[in-house]
Symmetry: C2
Subunit: 269 residues, 2 copies
């Protein structure tokens, strides 16, 4: 049976295939974000993009593109845009506002808050620019790229990541399980769903494949969002994560007969 | 001679034609930004979009589209995106960070800084979404829309508006004329240049028409950015603005024989 076999194969390879995709994406971004004037802008932008914690969203986007028969090149710009978007969100999340204490920086050098605000504001359009510029009029992909832009706008915007961040800030007031799950769903879940769906769109997947990948991505993100709390929460959450993992594998059954090795590794990271 | 004639005609009509285009754009946005759940996000977004001071950038975009033979409908989404982008920049400019005092709000209701940060972050992708969604695959405009996205990314991003804002924050330290001019060029100038160029792209203008409109927009923005300082600065600046106005009119000579009434009105607002 595919699901079990896939899970077995990929426990061993999961970190290596993810890391290899991630390396390709970072190489692409290093080339795409120039170190140029005004250095006062591009130096911190460069730094803050790579200082944000890695997530598996960009790599999932590339893996999904390859699963539906696309080539890695078709998804690299979208994967990079997703990485830059998440870095922008991380930068702003760590901004000291007068109504919240400055969160501890997790190992990234600090700039003046003013700069971090502005750089974050610059990163969001820059991510869209990366994507828009990847259009190759001779290949007639522009409709796919525009569709991916709508997907990404929604995932990072007011009904997605922004809502997730808002819920995170509210957490002290509303620290119940339902809120945490919604936060994870809007945050890690929504971003992974978006990444996987975008990869499938760019790789030329059918509507059915795109929706399967969207669901698979949601489950991958839910697992990753819930895992950090598992030790504190105990058995109930552990069981729940196992159930989500099974739901994820069910989505992959649709792709039986294709090479699901890389894509299925994401539920074991 | 066109330039003088145009200037004469339009001094009388300038405010009415600008206001009429602006009203069309705002009606479009009111329809496009829904009042829906999560209300905690969409209510302030709606409010903050309309609370930001009006600029002539969106209307110039529509006027430029019409000048090159396009229809208003082709430019309304881009004009709306530009308005939302400027509202996002305005919102973040008024955010109280720990390293700067909260600027006086200019007549808009205050939300918690946290909300204003997040809403601003949500507005930028939303603006791109408005534009991406305006794509009508049956009309094959997607390449034009992607090109406009690159234009807008650059104008609002790290080499454009963000750099202008950075220079504005530096102003106290570097309050010399050269810095103010660069700030205006990157701010009002760059945004108007972008708006006018985008309108020409969407209206199907030739490369030459697009570049003429870009220059014209830059001059329009320079005039509007410099005008507020004119009383303090005295005669020198007044003369300079008059020179910029003449340069703007020169760009319009290229369009002799077409209806330049609306577009030329922007130098007299």
């Amino acid at each position: 049976k595919l699901t079990t076999a896939a899970a077995q194969i990929t426990k061993a390879n999961s970190s290596s295939s993810w890391a290899s995709l991630q390396a390709d994406i970072e190489a692409h971004i290093k080339q795409a974000i120039p170190m140029k004037e005004p250095l006062v802008v591009f130096e911190p932008m460069h730094h803050l993009v790579f200082a944000a914690p890695r997530t598996t969203v960009p790599a999932l986007c590339v893996a999904s593109c390859e699963l539906v028969g696309g080539h890695q090149d078709q998804a690299l710009a979208a994967a990079s845009a997703l990485l830059v978007m998440q870095a922008a969100a991380y930068t702003h999340e760590h901004l000291p506002l007068t109504d919240r204490p400055r969160p501890k920086p997790k190992g990234h050098r600090e700039y003046d808050p003013n700069i971090e605000l502005l750089i974050g504001d610059g990163m969001i359009p820059y991510a869209f620019e990366l994507l828009a510029r990847s259009n190759d009029p001779t290949r007639d992909y522009s409709d796919r790229i525009l569709r991916v832009m709508v997907e990404i706008s929604r995932a990072v915007g007011s009904e997605g990541l922004v809502e997730g961040q808002y819920r995170k800030f509210l957490r002290t007031q509303l620290d119940n399980e339902a809120n945490i799950k919604l936060e994870v769903e809007k945050g890690e879940g929504g971003m992974h769903a978006c990444g996987a769906a975008c990869g499938a769109v760019l790789g030329g997947g059918s509507e059915e494949e795109i929706e399967k990948m969207r669901k698979y991505g949601l489950f991958v993100g839910m697992i990753q969002g819930l895992l950090p709390g598992v030790e504190k929460a105990g058995k109930g959450l552990k069981k729940e994560i196992e159930e989500i993992r099974n739901l994820a594998l069910e989505e992959l059954e649709f792709f039986e007969g294709r090479n699901v090795e890389v894509i299925s590794s994401f539920i074991n990271i």
